[in-house]
Amino acid sequence: MSIEHRDDTGARFGMWLFLYTEVILFSGLFILYAVSLAKYPHQFAEASHKLNIYFGSINTLVLLTSSLTIALAITAIQRNQIKPTLILCGVTVGLGALFMVNKYFEWSMEISHGIYPGSEHLAEMGNGITTFFNLYYFTAGLHGLHVVLGGSLIAVVAVLVAKGKVTAERYTLLENSALYWHLVDLVWIFLFPLYYLIL
C-alpha cells in the first residue's frame, strides 16, 4: 500500500486564502468606484441610468440560482448521488453560460449606443460619466472572466466526477471549485446594486 499525503481541510483553507486575495483584487476596484462616486455623485447617477436594469436583474437571478445548484451538487456528492451531482454541475455551467450570453447582448447594446471605453461619444459626456463606464467595463469584464474560468473549472471537475476520480470519499476538488463559483456570485452581489441601481 502506498503512503498518501492527504489533507482536505488544508486544501480547503488554501482555497479560502486564495479567495481572500481575489476579494482584495476586487476591493481595489470598488475603492476606485467609491472615490469616484464621492467626486462625481450626479454624473454617476446619470451614467447608472444608462445601464439596463433588466439585464442586471436577470443576471443576478441567474447567478444566485447557479450558486444554489453548485451548493446542492456538494450535498449530492457527499450523499454519493453521482447522477444528480453531474446534472447540478451541468446546470451551473449552463447558467454561467447564460450569464455570459446576457452580458454579450447587454454590452453589444451599450457599444452600439457609443458607450465603450475610449469612445468619442463618451468623452463628450464628461469625466464623471467616462470614469463610471471605464470602471464598469473593467470590473464587470474582470468578473466575466471569473465566470468563464469558474464555469470551465466546474466542467472539468464534472468530467472527473463522471470518471470516478472525484467521489463521495474525495470531493475536495469539486468543493473548491464550488467555493470559487460562490466568490463569483459574491462579487456580483456588490457589483449589481453599485453599478445598476444608483438613483
Binding site: R12, F13, W16, I24, S27, S67, T75
Partner: protein, 94 residues
C-alpha cells in the same frame, strides 16, 4: 489525525437560503427606486452584506468549518476596513 468530515447540508436548507437571496434582491431593486439621498448607497451595501453572509456561511459551508476559517474571514474584513478607511482619510481631507 482523522479527517473531519462535514455532514451534508440538506437540500431544503440551500433552497431556503436561495429564496431569501432572491427576496433580498427584489428588496434591493425596489428600495433603490425610492429617494433616500445618501442613505440609498448604505442601504444597498447593507442588503448586499446580508446576502454575502448567507452565501459565505451557508452556501460556502463556513458555518461548518473550524475557527481558523472564521478568523481568516475576520482578518480579511479588518484588512479591507483599513484599506478603505485609510484611503478615505486621504481623499476626504486633501
Amino acid at each position: 489525525m482523522e479527517e473531519h468530515k462535514h455532514e451534508p447540508v440538506p437540500y431544503r436548507t440551500f433552497i431556503k437560503v436561495w429564496i431569501a437571496l432572491l427576496a433580498l434582491t427584489v428588496v434591493t431593486v425596489v428600495v433603490s427606486r425610492i429617494h433616500f439621498g445618501a442613505a440609498n448607497i448604505w442601504i444597498a451595501l447593507g442588503i448586499a452584506s446580508v446576502k454575502s453572509s448567507l452565501v459565505i456561511f451557508i452556501f460556502m459551508h463556513l458555518r461548518q468549518e473550524s475557527r481558523l476559517f472564521k478568523i481568516g474571514l475576520l482578518i480579511l474584513l479588518v484588512i479591507l476596513a483599513i484599506f478603505i478607511g485609510l484611503t478615505f482619510t486621504d481623499i476626504l481631507y486633501r
